[in-house]
């Protein structure tokens, strides 16, 4: 009994002396609930971008502030929320948990696993919205990001830290280019993030399957907000992907982020904006639609060595309708990025895959990043193709052409054939250079146009079997030296001889 008495006494004493430990919360009540967006009265002292929690457990994110209410996008199932429900501000801006463990996983825009695996621990919480590094922390782009696709690496080289837009109609192989680039980063010490925005879940499953099969999932992360997810999550997905990329960049790593695709991202943001009754502009997009993409893509950069030296390369994807690049979103994103790879349905149907339109595709900064060896073989290529295009249209009316023109047309047709490449078969840098070198030196001129692909396949096969030394030499030297040329010439000639027209 004595023990109980003592116990009670102690409790009494503690109650008397205890300082009240309390927390003041900022609250509001749900006034209106529209598709995925809630209008909340109260929350007088909450800030823009702050996370709020509904009494039913769903979280939200403040993106609109009016005189006496705030607009919140609901991150999750908004059908659970009732009008009049209490909402509490959580006093932090939206962040995602990031750690090394993310590698090889598929997550949603909140950083929660979608692949049925273990929950992900958080080393750090990275803010979803972050101001891009300023000029002093940046370094010019000068290291190449090999895509493994001949035509891109030769004609529109991409550098680490660049933003290169992939644009084209549906079904022209936009995602394929992005995925091939991811596959080609094997062993390059690049971390790849594929961000699916408004994609079909079946497609995300396919991407995950492909990356696993190609052994690319070990260094890849998939962030997905599928088409059945609320517009709010689709709106957040690319920012989350970028926040994850920033975590790895801060560790000095090179990161490649694919945003597939930003047209659907713009649609999601348009939906949210219209529900919030923001004034609609051209094509009913809100006024800040440009800023939506520019602030995202500006976060792609290459850091100065003193600030960590990592980089984020962005490959945004835009889907056009009927090849119309002058629509609102395509022109916006074209002007933000450092170049674009334009894919065309006609080329695709004509069997030229990747269906890159060489005339209007550009890369504005990648040239500085191109290896010297590639510059050696690609310089002539560009000229050949440009002249070919000019002549091809003109020569249709002429019956007899002079020798020089015939030669040009012949070379152009062969090079066009050579630019074809099967999907999911990226080339090593050395292999690309050998193939292009062969075209440059005129070994293709005698091979019939229909046999160019066969010749290329044979050449690559031979290189892989016997030419490992040459490939390594090119990749080491980064330049085609006369010595390498001496080794190459008999090698290529031997293969070419088998294809020459009798």
């Amino acid at each position: 009994m004595k023990a109980i008495d003592q116990y009670l006494e102690q409790i009494e004493r503690e109650i008397k002396n205890s300082k009240l430990d309390y927390k003041t919360d900022e609250v509001g009540t749900v006034q209106e609930l529209r598709d995925g967006v809630a209008l909340i009265a109260g929350l007088d002292k909450a800030g823009f971008g702050e996370v709020v929690e509904f009494a039913s457990g769903v979280k939200g994110y403040i993106i609109d502030m009016l005189e006496d209410s705030v607009g919140v996008i609901v991150l999750g199932d908004y059908l659970k929320i009732k009008s009049g429900e209490q909402v509490k501000a959580l006093n932090y801006t939206l962040s995602v948990p990031v750690s090394e463990k993310l590698m090889g996983r598929t997550v949603d825009p909140m950083g929660m696993p979608l692949d049925g695996g273990d929950p992900l621990p958080a080393d750090v919480w990275n803010p979803v919205e972050k101001v891009a590094p300023s000029v002093v922390y940046r370094k010019p782009v000068n290291v190449p990001m090999q895509t493994g696709i001949k035509s891109i690496d030769a004609l529109f080289p991409i550098g680490r830290g660049q933003r290169e837009l992939i644009i084209g109609d549906r079904g022209t192989g936009k995602s394929t280019i992005a995925l091939d680039t991811i596959i080609n980063q094997k062993g390059q010490d690049v971390i790849c993030i594929y961000c699916g925005i408004g994609q079909k879940n079946s497609k995300i499953a396919l991407v995950s399957e492909l990356l696993k099969k190609q052994g690319a999932m070990d260094y890849s992360i998939i962030v997905s907000a599928s088409s059945s997810d609320p517009a709010s999550l689709q709106y957040l997905a690319p920012y989350t992907a970028c926040a994850i990329a920033e975590f790895f960049m801060a560790k000095g790593k090179d990161v490649l982020v694919v945003y597939d695709d930003l047209s659907k991202h713009a649609w999601a943001y348009r939906q949210v904006s219209l529900i919030l009754r923001r004034p609609a502009g051209r094509e009913a997009y809100p006024g800040d639609i440009f800023y939506l993409h520019s602030r995202l893509l500006e976060r792609a950069c290459r850091l100065e060595d003193s600030s960590g030296g990592g980089s984020i390369t962005a490959l945004p994807v835009i889907e056009t309708l009927e090849g119309d690049v002058s629509a609102y979103i395509p022109t916006n994103v074209i002007s933000i990025t450092d170049g674009q790879i334009f894919l065309e349905t006609d080329l695709f149907n004509a069997g030229i895959r990747p269906a890159i339109n060489i005339g209007i595709s550009v890369s504005r900064v990648g040239g500085n990043a191109q290896t010297k060896a590639m510059k050696q073989v690609a310089g002539r290529l560009k000229l050949d193709l440009a002249q070919y295009r000019e002549m091809a249209a003109f020569s249709q009316f002429e019956s007899d052409l002079d020798e020089e023109t015939k030669k040009l047309l012949n070379r152009g047709a062969k090079v066009t054939q050579l630019m074809k490449q099967d999907k999911n078969k990226p080339y090593r840098l050395g292999e690309e250079i050998i193939v292009l070198w062969a075209a440059n030196k005129g070994y293709l001129d005698l091979v019939p146009a229909t046999k160019v692909t066969d010749f290329e396949n044979e050449l690559v096969k031979a290189v892989r079997l016997q030419g490992e030394k040459i490939v390594l030499a090119i990749e080491k030297e980064k330049v085609v030296t006369p010595h390498i040329e001496e080794l190459l010439a008999p090698f290529v000639k031997q293969v070419a001889d088998g294809f020459i027209e009798q």
Binding site: L20, Y22, E26, V27, K45
Partner: protein, 94 residues
């Protein structure tokens, strides 16, 4: 009907004043109706509300304890909230 701008101005002013006054009222939710002295002793623990006007409302769903509300700020000292936090902690820690 068009309002005289002068009247409108005055109406707006009184309206804002009223709103601000409304926001300054402290509402004390409890499971039973509190006596004057009880309210006073509770308010004594919260110096920031010492001079404010206090209203008492009964809300039996609190189970126990009090909730103090002033404008958009809330101090939840109810048993309901304590249980809620406990539940959350238990679920999140596994």
């Amino acid at each position: 009907m068009r309002l005289d701008p002068h009247v409108k101005e005055r109406l707006k002013k009184t309206f804002t004043e009223e709103l601000i006054a409304q926001k300054e009222i402290v509402t004390l939710y409890s499971t039973y109706s509190l006596s004057e002295s009880e309210i006073k002793s509770i308010c004594a623990r919260f110096p920031q509300y010492a001079t404010s006007k206090v209203e008492n409302k009964v809300d039996s769903t609190l189970l126990g304890g009090v909730v103090i509300k002033c404008g958009s700020q809330i101090i939840d000292l109810s048993i309901r909230n304590a249980l809620h936090l406990l539940k959350k902690q238990l679920y999140e820690s596994n």
